[in-house]
């Protein structure tokens, strides 16, 4: 292991110098958070039925789509079942918060 030890002593560090350097680019497949294109949503409620944790709430009369970010396990089941394909998986994860975090989207 002498070879590795000397290489690490004089070489670059193995870790990234974030925040003094750039973040590593996410992979295309990385599961980070769910994003909705609300103009295409028909409020059928399939995503609410299939969500394993019950993080999504759909109200058809008020045209409201709500997701509890801290309950979502980013499994991607809702993305698969949406008939209009308006749900997408983004690689950026939800940031930290000090209370609950519920995002609401309405169609005007």
């Amino acid at each position: 292991m002498v070879r590795t030890a000397i290489k690490s002593l004089f070489g670059r560090p193995a870790t990234r110098r974030y925040p003094f350097g750039p973040k590593r680019a996410y992979y295309k497949n990385t599961r980070g958070s769910i994003k909705i294109d609300i103009t295409g949503c028909i409020f059928c409620g399939l995503c609410q039925k299939k969500c394993p944790t019950g993080a999504i709430t759909v109200t058809k009369e008020e045209k409201k789509w709500q997701i509890d970010r801290l309950r979502c396990i980013i499994c991607g089941y809702c993305v698969e079942v949406c008939p209009k394909k308006c749900l997408k998986m983004e690689p950026d994860y939800t940031g930290p918060s000090t209370g609950g975090r519920e995002d609401t989207y309405r169609r005007a």
């Binding site: 292991m1 070879r3 992979y27 990385t30 394993p52």
Partner: protein
């Protein structure tokens, strides 16, 4: 007359990754008896099956353990597919094999790091985990998550890997192979490491078999038993042999896990060369009715899932028997006779995964 003292090896200990309690009866720093206490992270996941749809439960089964998570999900899917008599397509089986072996590699590299940390060799711990990061990058690229894969479902797999990605994975693993050889060579040959591992915690073959030990703990005592030989999920088409050692001490258990890392690289290469084209899932209709035993080989040993259902969408009973639970009697047998300072290393050599053990 020697006086007995009882020392608690508590739920919180710097060397343990998860909480486990032992009451150690010692006489002059030699352990004479060890009494385990478990139940610190019990979450009641088996009871949850009665409230969740059987298709949704895959996500819960994956989260039983953070290290061996893919194989928990895979065995649950095997149990439900066995009840409903669904056969996933061949390409799904090969993809399941590739992900299982990647999961095994990252678990063994993690264990090597913990063991090096347990006897104070922090440089080796960090270097082993540096290589493990590269395996986790491969897993993240293909499934989206680093430790919770989310890629197995009843009837097949959820994501596909394209052909050139598969060949890129094999090339990367071959490139990392000399680094892995160098790090694991330190475990095999360094005199200070051998001083801690050789000759401690000897478990004979008959004892290991009678007490019901599984996995590398059993294979290091000379008994050749590997659940992958049962032939689930495309293992019947892959050519490999279970890895055994004869000595039965901590050094033998370490060597079995090191050689299993290289055997996994070979299995992935074979799987990538044999994988057929085709669909990755079969459609699931209806509800299960019946019962089934599914067994698979986790990095720590044999895991058993027993599922029973009576015709509704909620399964009636799910019983999970994890490998760490089967290895605890063997651990209680091999602790007496060692010094107090050897106890952390011995507990780590059976690779305890306590969150699996008490789901």
């Amino acid at each position: 007359m020697k006086k007995r003292t009882v020392i608690p090896f508590g739920p919180q200990h710097p060397v343990l990754p998860e909480p486990l309690h032992f009451d150690l009866a010692v006489e002059n720093e030699t352990v004479v008896e060890a009494i385990p206490s478990i139940g610190f992270v019990h979450r009641g996941l088996e009871k949850l099956i009665e409230k969740k749809n059987f298709l949704d439960y895959v996500y819960v089964a994956e989260r039983v353990c953070g290290i061996c998570s893919f194989i928990h999900g895979l065995t649950y899917c095997l149990a439900v597919e066995g009840i409903m008599k669904i056969a996933p397509p061949p390409r799904a089986n090969y993809l399941r094999v590739i992900w299982s072996e990647l999961s095994r590699m990252h678990s063994h590299l993690m264990w090597l790091g913990f063991t090096a940390d347990a006897f104070g060799f922090e440089n080796l711990f960090m270097n082993a985990w540096r290589i493990r990061e590269k395996i986790l990058d491969i897993i993240e690229e293909t499934t989206g998550g680093r430790v919770i894969f989310g890629s197995c479902k009843v009837g097949g797999v959820r994501k596909d890997i394209k052909k050139d990605n598969l060949e890129a994975i094999v090339k990367k693993l071959k490139k990392y192979s000399p680094d892995i050889k160098e790090i694991t060579g330190v475990f095999a040959r360094d005199s200070s490491v051998k001083h801690r591992l050789v000759g401690t915690g000897i478990l004979t073959g008959e004892d290991a078999y009678d007490l019901g030990a599984v996995g590398p703990t059993l294979r290091a005592s000379g008994v050749s038993q590997d659940m992958r030989k049962l032939g689930y999920a495309a293992y019947k088409d892959i050519d490999f042999e279970p890895i055994t050692e004869k000595a039965g001490d901590s050094y033998a258990r370490c060597m079995v896990r090191i050689r299993e890392i290289f055997s996994s690289i070979d299995i992935i290469e074979q799987a990538v060369s044999k994988i057929p084209e085709g669909p990755i899932e079969t459609k699931v209709t209806g509800v299960p009715s019946g019962e089934y035993f599914a067994r698979a080989e986790q990095p720590r040993g044999e895991v058993i899932y027993y599922a029973k259902s009576d015709g509704t969408e909620f399964l009636k009973r799910l019983r999970i028997r994890t490998p760490t639970f089967a290895n605890i009697p063997a651990l209680v047998k091999l602790l007496p006779g060692c010094e107090l300072a050897d106890v952390p290393v011995l507990i780590l050599t059976i690779d305890p995964c306590i969150s699996c053990m008490e789901r």
